[in-house]
Symmetry: C2
Subunit: 209 residues, 2 copies
């Protein structure tokens, strides 16, 4: 599937639709109108229909959407209808938290190993996953066809790690280091300090969503 | 200061300007043109000038911006020129990682205490911060005039915690739980599963930034 014209804003709403639909399904809801889904998500109904039209529609207007069909379609669109293997570089606090994060396995994301430069950590394990020597990362990515590389290492090492990941054939990078990385593969950044500064801005300027 | 018409996109770029400017200052750069700053940040120069104009400009065109002045102006705009006190609800992996996050203190954010419902964690400490009983949270917020409440607790408890934080006078909420919370104060969400799903989408559809 290819949806080249889908905007970043729509792409960021898709996982949110998914989350709400999974919740509705768990409550026994089988069919939902764009109006009701919109209300639950604090959007408007035409926005929902417009978003879904980006991906071919999913349902008949006036009749509502079948919740479980919608869930499986959105899983395909987000490519979370399959497994993704993950390695994490940096076995510090963030690396630990991500390895233990319950939400990932539910969505088919599986942490295979962590890598670190610290000799005291190498050879240990985190939640059953081995902490390996960073020098062996490239070979590990190749041999295990790792999909996603998480960078939670020191700031100064981040670009080099990204370069090595790309060269070894990683398919995407999830970056937790406050640096703008240059990569040849898709990247998604989680800049915690910047998120907190944004909250500080919103507080100062009284911005409610 | 009030900048009501500043778009969400600009607000999210401001912390990134700050990060780049701090780096430039540490490299001894005293003055920078919008062209050079734009190039470094992979933006275009008119975008930079337009963003800065939202906040009154900061400099004379053709002459460039004074880096340290710009840094102190942006700190004021983001309100990170002062201290913010933080409590974290949920002393699990995310709570630990955030308590130990080095980037926060640099920006004036200080974690004062963690709260949990788990009797085995209450009374312990994380990086020198006490883990307290969740039942005492409201009183603690009031007595210590806490600015920011971080929610890193169970999904089912998140809305109730947010309600209690708001009633106790918290000024903003930083939410790590995959739920859309209703609050009477500004909120900033970090939805890790959704970020990872977005990466999965970008990989599937070959989206480079």
């Amino acid at each position: 599937m290819s949806f080249k014209r889908v905007s970043e804003a729509v792409i960021r709403r898709i996982p949110r639709y998914y989350r709400h639909l999974v919740m509705l399904e768990s409550q026994g809801v089988e069919r939902i109108s764009s109006e009701r889904l919109a209300k639950q998500m604090n959007l408007n109904a035409s926005q929902v229909r417009q978003d879904f039209n980006c991906f071919g529609g999913f349902g008949q207007q006036g009749y509502g959407y079948n919740v479980s069909t919608l869930i499986s379609e959105i899983k395909k669109i987000m490519a979370i209808d399959r497994k993704h293997s993950i390695i994490i570089v940096g076995a510090g606090n963030i690396g630990h938290a991500l390895t233990n994060f319950p939400g990932f396995n539910e969505s088919g994301f599986e942490v295979k190993a962590l890598f670190d430069i610290n000799k005291e950590l190498i050879g240990s394990s985190v939640n059953g996953r081995p902490v390996l020597d960073i020098k062996d990362m490239d070979e590990y990515i190749r041999q295990n066809s790792i999909d996603i590389g998480v960078i939670a290492a020191r700031r100064t090492a981040a670009q080099e790690i990204a370069d090595r990941m790309c060269a070894a054939g990683i398919r995407g990078i999830w970056n937790f280091v406050p640096v703008d990385l240059t990569t040849s593969v898709p990247i998604e950044n989680v800049h915690l300090s910047e998120s907190l500064s944004t909250l500080s801005y919103k507080i100062e300027h009284g911005m409610l969503d």
